[in-house]
């Protein structure tokens, strides 16, 4: 029976339901709604892996979107310019992302707080410069556009079916992170976040743990980026730039840094707000994000999930008070 057996019926039912819902949705949505939906899944996937890096492992990196870009660009370049098959291209892209992440992660072992943020921001900027100046390789400032997802085992995956791929990557990311979070590794990450000196004294290899956390989550970002590349069959530099990097950070903070559910809530709230408000008020909608972040930090540092937990605790106390002692 192994791992599956100890999960229990309630767990299987709950996650089965969620998966079924996520998979069914693409088939009932209008095309433009579908576009919003799968981009939303993309952001949620990034937010969940970023939450692990920033909220749980305590590494304030601004390179997450850069790695999504590395994943997306690499797979497209390998497909169209190196003529690799899809499977090989994916594997090679993941490997490249992993190697780059491994290198960048050394910065994470040496730098703390905002210095790490700036170093990773610089890395992201360098990537944008390389993409902008990459000529025919990267398509320059316009990016790459004339490509499409090759047929897999003879079938073309399109439309709602392709959204399922994003669902799969999201659930896979979540499953992996939930698993390792509830283990010695997750605790080690949190310990480093909360008190690095004490963590080392308890036997945690701080450098190694940081490297693993950074590399793993960055490769997850790359995977999401790969799926993104075939949404509209276009990849261009601004998507993977600084503005979205900050937005990702804001999502995690507003939702509740350190909480998987918080990351999901934050991503859904901010991304949907953007999708609803931007057509109406244009770019000015972004002020809402700034306001939300300031409000969160000043009034509810635990984010929306913290508010939810407080509510639940209060309801529990109210119920307990009414019962017989």
């Amino acid at each position: 029976m192994g791992a599956l057996g100890q999960l229990g019926m309630k767990w299987v039912l709950r996650w089965g339901l969620v998966t079924a819902l996520l998979c069914a949705l693409p088939f009932v949505l209008q095309p433009y709604e579908l576009d919003i939906y799968r981009k939303l899944l993309f952001w949620v996937a990034l937010a969940v892996s970023y939450n692990f890096l920033f909220g749980i492992a305590g590494q304030m990196a601004l390179s997450h979107f850069a790695f999504a870009g590395i994943g997306g660009y690499t797979v497209v370049i390998l497909l169209t310019q190196a003529d690799l098959g899809l499977g090989l291209a994916i594997i090679a892209a993941l490997l490249l992302a992993g190697i780059l992440a491994f290198i960048v992660s050394f910065a994470a072992t040496r730098l703390e707080g905002f210095y790490l943020a700036l170093a990773t921001l610089a890395f992201a900027q360098l990537l944008i410069v390389v993409l902008d100046e990459g000529g025919t390789l990267t398509g320059g400032t316009g990016g790459l556009t004339s490509y499409s997802l090759p047929a897999v085992f003879g079938t073309k995956i399109e439309g709602p079916w392709y959204a399922l791929v994003m669902v799969g990557v999201l659930l896979g990311t979540l499953a992996i992170l939930l698993r390792i979070d509830r283990s010695w590794f997750g605790r080690a990450c949190r310990a480093i976040r909360d008190n690095t000196e004490a963590a080392a004294a308890m036997g945690v290899d701080v450098a190694r743990t940081k490297i693993i956390a950074f590399t793993l989550t960055s490769v997850m970002a790359a995977a999401a980026g790969m799926v993104y590349a075939f949404f509209d069959n276009t990849v261009n530099p601004p998507v993977f730039g600084l503005e979205n990097a900050f937005l990702l950070l804001f999502m995690v903070i507003v939702g509740g840094s350190g909480s998987h559910a918080g990351a999901i809530i934050g991503a859904v709230l901010l991304k949907l707000s953007q999708d609803i408000l931007e057509p109406v008020v244009g770019h000015f909608h972004a002020i809402g994000f700034g306001v939300l972040v300031v409000a969160a930090i000043l009034f509810q540092p635990k984010g929306l999930i913290g508010t939810w937990d407080n509510l639940r605790a209060r309801m529990k106390r109210a119920k307990g008070g009414k019962g017989v002692k």
């Binding site: 610089a122 950070l249 002020i287």
Partner: protein, 293 residues
Amino acid sequence: MSDLLELLVSASASGCIYGLVALAYLLVLRPTGIVNFAVGEWAMIGAFAAYLLSAGLGLPSILVIPGAALLMAILGWATEWSVVRPLVVRGAGHLAPILVLLGMLVIYHQIMLWRFGADQFPLEGPFGFRRVELGPIAGTPQSFFIIVTTLAVFGAVWLFFERTVWGKSFEAVAINRRAAALMGINLRMVTALAFAGGAAIAGIAGLLDAPRGSLEVNMALPLAIQGFSALVIGGVNRVEGALLGGIILAFAEDLTRRYVPIPSGLSLGVTPLLLIIFLMVRPNGLLRAREAG
């Protein structure tokens, strides 16, 4: 040769701007440990303040700069009072103020975008656009004005730290917050002053820079990044480090763009590259903190 000299003047002027922004970071970072990434927005807002004062109100140049600096000081103080102080009082740690200031960055940016759009505005320097020659050295009057003003600002700040009681208390707070408070230093005053001063200096940097190119809302983020890079390069421990870092960064950028045979777009990578190198190899910058005498 004269070509090179002219480039050096222009690079020096850029370096001064970066140095001023770095100084704005430093002024807040030293006593509070807070990295205020919103200084870029402050620089931009200062430039717009100067524009409104000169083009809108028609004030003469001699009033514009102090006027803009004063307005920025008020903005800086207001920012500290409204979003930073509650966090410090609460003991919210290092990260919270940095993040709240990132939120403020977005708020400032969006308000300015809403008011001024993404357009470019003309902001004239006090001396116009002629070409000035001082012996073999030539450049725009604005470049010389920037250099002179920057040296004046740095000089004033240096004097403040070295010779005044308030300045010494900044240093005391930087070294040991709790001890400084126990000695009777008013932490709140120091923090408020730090933010006000930082905003004023950032504003000056912005209004000095804008006439050289164009005044636009999107000048903020690049300045923030370049200013921080200058700070890291020059050293976070000394005022002179900010200026040194700015000069090095500007020279590296401009000389690369002019003389290194790569596409000009790639020279945009010089700043981030230098930042990464210094953060990894010499995170405390080039200038060491002076040993306690």
